[in-house]
């Protein structure tokens, strides 16, 4: 069977975009469909994310072959030659099998022909229909014909058929006859090798939680609505205002777990705690005087850096936290304030008034998700999410169809994007790998460099959008006078499909080799082929968005500005074209550091894609921490998994395992590392690899508290698990145990949640109960962190009569021996007294800690975070990458995580490495930096400031050289260099000087 090269990604939110970009970067053809008219999903309605309050969306864009995709903010859109966006599209039919699916999709007509629409907005001006706007969560109106969101590229309108009355006013008004008021569907058959399901989630509809009065009370809003209020692109321009009276609220309450963790939805939505914390943090930072109160059951801040974020909100920003369910909200009619009745932890009822209430609504499956799953032939679980298994988290029940993000369980962006990488990895296993052909240095380019510049200037009227403000004839005349300009022309609409035919002929006739386009913000790069020029020979001036549309009241000065901008662009275009940097070869081989679950999984993924793998393990055996995990909460068999993957690794021809071996030295760069390894007995030997995966693991903290090690009846969860599994311990001989959570976690010296200990405790507690229903199990906890579907087991544990007693970090439980017995004493917050227990066993849940990672990090030249775990490039958007390209991280080396999460992350890391290693060559972008050796003093300032290790001192020549493939063209080196030896191709100082000169 001939493998196909294409893949379908369903859902263009965070997960779908990330999976598509990963696949496209790896050389596959992606169909990315979405039911909505634009990409972005929940993602683009948010401006910044926890736990760093930053936006990092653009970090998802490819790190290699950067020029292939659009290079602008992803909020504006995504343009990649290998990603075909299919808006308003649904999957109707799936036939075939993994490797060769035939998929029927229907795309609804937008009513507006994108090639004709110039985005002038005259249609919306005459449209009589006003309806709620999705982008702003329905908080602000829009017309029935509208741009999906402001700033989208291309800036094209679309029709909302549900509210359109088909009055025809827009059709009559449209200057380009772009509107067809005919609802229609286009049916297409796609042939793809694999499918990725990334449909995300739907917010729980808070109307269903009638006790909170959502929609009845205008000042009860949801978290995402608050996000839109706070957004600079939102309806109040970023100012915190109540919608009832446009007044800034002085007090705000957040209610957690709305639509999560109740009898109807017995799961935790995993993200709402952090989302509320983020909102609270941003609110407090902007409005320190606002009183913010979060009502919650447990704070589940279990991701990397999340607990610190919680502490910062609580201790530094003064966000108040109350552990309480809120049964009901009433409005105080005159003020429209809200009165919350709360049940405090001690059972007392209290009433509190707030000016604004924010509901932290949970995640539910997207509407129509069940039907979609039926079409796809994949099973859903009992909560209506896509079913997946613990040890194959991105696999669905149908081969060749993978899932990522909230489609399979509620999760945040960080976890979603890791899964997206893993899904891309798994899906690409079914695809014919298209080696990315090295872009041949375009012959035209080289000859151009020698040729004298002959410039063409192409000015677009954009109907009257530009000409109504700017005197284009005057501007054209002005352009003609400028040096090297050989040809100037005007076109009515440059975006039209046939608009380039005539100019192309003229360009050839006048031997034009550089072009300056005066038009709009549209991305024309994809059309440059039609005129035989590449993007480095073209300069653009945005006459419409930067001038005509914003200076309508001052046409004279606006025309002067237009002339200046054209003169500036012409100066840039006159500069000699850069010669392409030479590509470098890639060693198609990977080094995996660590033979635990993550390392083994990564190695298998790499080998599946035909990559030769060298796996080094420090210890004498494979399996890492997995050796000690005997069973799981969900009932899977970790030991079977262990045996299976070790056997597969050992028998795989492409994988070489070296035990008791360590990495000593690393030289080189992405695609071309030279690593030195040292075995226990063997000599130092070196190896050339193209990529390195760090899966060096983590370990269990050895408690120093609670008399651990001094009493045989005080043991850790892991020890208990071993004893239960090996039947060394019979639950029937035990009458009571006390479990203590957060031992060594969430402490001053380790301010992070270890993520897995709560589920571990539940798992062992349920096992004990299974063996002996009469055992009294008391869990002393701080916040039960049974996120996602683990919540069900927490519920089950309580149903089985286990006692959960919360303790405060200031008054920790006290464990002491009294004669033969162990006594545990703890302050009981509900009754306010002290609880004294005499268990047979005390079980401690210790933290997951990093091993001493400093030497390895130093050898690799990568960073560690404050807790000693490896520091990824960006916490959300580049979760398995380092800033140093070609090195990736997964598993406990990254942060505490469960088995399934380690597997996912290992696959995501492997995907990144495969994407790099299946290239024969790494090609530089056009605007990469270079060194003029004559001017270089080797001060290395440029090397210091480069974020991408793209600059290095060549050992042999002593020269500072650029690894073009790693350079992103940011220009930091250019500024760092005082002598001007560091230059950016296409943007040299000389050109900039000319450009600046032309501004006056």
């Amino acid at each position: 069977m001939v493998k196909l090269n294409s893949v379908l990604v369903i859902g263009a939110g965070a997960g779908g975009i990330k999976a598509s970009l990963d696949l496209a970067e790896a050389g596959f053809k992606v169909y990315l469909c979405d039911r909505s008219p634009a990409i972005g999903g929940a993602l683009i309605r948010m401006d910044r994310w926890f736990p760093d309050n930053h936006c990092g969306l653009c970090q998802m864009l490819p790190a290699f072959s950067t020029d292939d995709s659009s290079r602008f903010c992803l909020r504006r859109g995504l343009i990649h030659p290998d990603i075909e966006l299919m808006p308003l599209t649904e999957v109707k039919e799936v036939a075939g099998q993994a490797g060769d699916f035939r998929i029927g999709v229907t795309s609804r007509a937008t009513g507006v022909t994108p090639e004709l629409c110039i985005g002038c907005g005259l249609c919306a001006g005459v449209c009589p229909v006003e309806t709620a706007r999705e982008f702003n969560e329905g908080l602000a109106p829009r017309k029935a014909i509208y741009p999906p969101h402001p700033g989208v590229l291309p800036y094209v309108y679309t029709i909302d058929w549900d509210s359109c009355t088909k009055c025809g006013a827009c059709v009559a008004k449209c200057p380009t006859q772009a509107i067809r008021l005919k609802e229609g569907e286009v049916i297409r058959q796609l042939r793809v090798g694999a499918v990725i399901l990334a449909t995300g989630f739907e917010e729980f509809d808070p109307v269903l939680a009638t006790q909170y009065g959502y929609q009845r009370y205008p000042n009860v809003i949801t978290g995402i609505e608050l996000e839109r209020i706070l957004s600079p692109s939102g309806l109040t321009g970023g100012e915190l205002l109540r919608l009832s009276d446009n007044r800034a609220p002085g007090s705000i309450a957040f209610l957690q777990c709305v639509g999560s963790r109740d009898s109807r939805k017995d799961y935790c939505s995993s993200t709402c705690c952090m989302f509320a914390l983020k909102e609270a943090t941003l609110l407090k930072q902007a409005n320190p005087q606002v009183d913010i109160h979060i009502f919650f059951m447990d704070i589940r801040a279990f991701g990397k850096g999340y607990y610190r974020y919680y502490e910062q909100a609580r201790d530094e920003l003064g966000v108040k936290f109350t552990r309480s369910r809120v049964p009901v909200i009433r409005e105080d009619p005159p003020t429209r304030n809200l009165v919350l009745t709360t049940i405090e932890e001690n059972g007392a009822l209290a009433k509190r008034q707030f000016e604004l209430v924010v509901l932290s609504v949970g995640q539910t499956p997207a509407p129509g998700f069940q039907e979609l799953c039926q079409v796809l032939g994949v099973e859903v679980n009992k909560w209506g999410f896509c079913r997946s298994e613990l040890f194959s988290p991105v696999a669905t029940t149908r081969e060749g169809i993978y899932v990522c993000g909230s489609a399979s369980a509620p999760k945040d962006i960080a976890d979603t994007l890791v899964e997206a990488g893993a899904a891309a990895d798994q899906a690409s296993g079914w695809l014919a790998r298209r080696r990315v052909p090295p872009t041949p240095p375009e012959e035209a380019m080289e000859s151009d460099a020698e040729e004298a510049p002959r410039l063409g200037v192409l000015l677009c009227d954009c109907g009257q959008e530009i000409t109504s403000v700017l005197d284009l004839e005057e501007i054209a005349e002005f352009s003609r006078q400028l040096p090297d300009v050989a040809w100037v022309a005007r076109v009515p609409y440059l975006c039209y499909t046939d608009a380039w035919q005539r100019p192309a002929k003229e360009l050839r006739k006048h031997k034009v080799n550089r072009l300056v386009i005066g038009a709009c913000s549209r991305y024309f790069n994809t059309r440059l082929g039609e005129i035989g020029l590449n993007s480095s020979a073209v300069q653009k001036v945005n006459l419409r968005e930067h001038i005509a549309w914003v200076h309508g009241d001052n046409p004279k000065v606006a025309t002067e500005k237009a002339k200046s901008l054209l003169a500036m662009a012409i100066e840039l275009a006159r500069a000699p074209e850069p010669e392409p940097a030479s590509p470098v070869n890639v060693h198609p081989r990977a080094l995996v550091i660590g033979g635990g679950l993550a390392g083994l999984t990564a190695a298998l993924s790499l080998a599946r894609h035909g990559i030769e793998v060298h796996l080094v393990e420090k210890s004498a055996g494979l399996g890492g921490n997995l050796k000690q995990i005997c069973y799981t909460l969900e009932g899977d068999d970790p030991q079977a998994l262990r045996e299976n993957i070790i056997a597969r690794v050992k028998t795989d021809r492409l994988i070489q395992v070296a035990l008791e071996t360590e990495l000593m030295e690393v030289g080189g760069y992405a695609g071309n590392f030279e690593v030195s390894l040292k075995g226990k007995e063997s000599l130092l030997h070196s190896l050339e690899v193209g990529a390195i995966i760090v899966a060096s693991g983590g370990e269990e903290y050895r408690p120093t508290e609670y008399l651990y090690g001094q009493n045989k009846n005080i043991i850790t969860q892991k020890e208990l698990e071993g004893k239960l599994f090996s039947a060394k311990l019979d639950p029937r001989n035990i009458s009571s145990v006390v479990m203590i959570q957060c031992v060594g976690s969430r402490e001053k010296e380790r301010p992070y949640c270890s993520r897995i200990c709560c589920s571990q405790a539940l798992k062992n507690a349920l096992r004990l109960k299974e063996g002996n229903p009469d055992i009294e199990v008391t869990v002393l906890y701080r916040d039960m962190t049974s996120y996602g579907f683990q919540e069900e087991y927490y519920t089950r544990a309580r149903e089985k009569g286990m006692t959960f007693v919360r303790y405060e970090p200031e008054s920790k439980p006290e464990v002491r021996p009294e004669g033969e017995r162990l006594v545990v004493e703890v302050a009981e917050p509900v009754l306010g007294g002290r609880l004294i227990l005499e268990p047979d066993l005390v079980i401690l849940s210790p933290a997951i800690i990093p091993p001493e990672n400093t030497p390895l990090a130093w050898t690799l030249g990568v960073g560690l975070n404050e807790d000693g775990f490896f520091q990824e490039a960006e916490v959300k958007f580049r979760p398995v990458d380092f800033l140093t390209e070609g090195i990736y991280v997964c598993g406990l080396a990254h942060s505490p995580r469960g088995m399934g999460e380690s597997i996912t992350q290992a696959q995501a890391a492997a995907q990144k490495a495969v994407s790099l290693l299946t290239r024969e060559q790494l090609v530089s972008g056009i605007a990469v930096s270079e060194t003029i050796q004559r001017q270089c003093s080797q001060c290395e300032l440029c090397i210091t400031v480069c974020s991408y290790t793209a600059r290095m001192k060549d050992v042999e020549s002593g020269e500072v050289v650029v690894r073009g493939a790693l350079c992103r063209g940011c220009g930091a080196c250019v500024v760092a260099c005082p002598s001007g030896a560091a230059k950016l191709r296409g943007f040299k100082d000389r050109q900039v000087f000319s450009l600046i000169d032309a501004a006056f």
């Binding site: 401006d47 910044r48 760093d52 309050n53 930053h54 936006c55 990092g56 653009c58 970090q59 290079r71 602008f72 903010c73 909020r75 504006r76 907005g121 741009p147 402001p150 700033g151 590229l153 800036y155 957004s231 600079p232 692109s233 913000s521 945005n542 968005e545 930067h546 001038i547 549309w549 914003v550 200076h551 309508g552 001052n554 000065v557 002067e560 500005k561 200046s564 901008l565 500036m568 800033l883 605007a927 400031v945 974020s947 992103r968 063209g969 940011c970 220009g971 930091a972 250019v974 500024v975 950016l984 943007f987 100082d989 900039v992 000087f993 450009l995 600046i996 000169d997 501004a999 006056f1000």
Partner: protein, 143 residues
């Protein structure tokens, strides 16, 4: 008519591709009006704006210069805007110490979503430069 109304300053703007240039486009599609005095130059990163470019503009004929970058922490290139901030701080201190009207140089962080902030900033900047009057450096033949 007051003199400052007649004076149309020329201001050079260095706008980072990822944030401020996008905000300029957004201001455009949202048709937010602002004065036409700023000549935008798109750069990949605010960290690639060499102070010598700013000086070149100021000494060569600009009445003002603005550098627009991603908000702190949001730089596409990780730390370009933090580095730009240090460089521009030094440049402004040099100008201020020598009494060379450092207030003609503005640094602003404007994200891709902040079209309104972009147009507001252009308004404020143009007003401020109009108030300062023409840059004396551009008339001086002997600098």
């Amino acid at each position: 008519m007051a003199e400052e109304d007649q004076f149309e300053p020329v201001i050079v703007g260095f706008f980072c591709n990822w944030c401020t240039a996008a905000a300029a486009d957004l201001a455009g599609t949202s048709r937010m009006q602002y004065p036409p005095n700023v000549r935008p130059i798109r750069v990949m990163c605010s960290g690639s704006v060499d102070p010598v470019y700013v000086l070149r503009a100021l000494l060569g004929g600009a009445d003002g210069v603005i550098i627009g970058g991603c908000p702190p922490g949001d730089c596409h290139y990780v730390s370009g805007n933090y580095r730009a901030r240090r460089r521009m701080a030094i440049l402004k201190t040099i100008l201020a110490t020598l009494g060379l009207e450092e207030e003609r140089v503005w640094v602003r962080w404007i994200s891709a979503a902040e079209g309104a902030k972009f147009s507001r900033t252009m308004n404020e900047l143009t007003q401020a430069i109009k108030k300062l009057g023409p840059n004396p450096m551009k008339r001086d033949w002997s600098i």
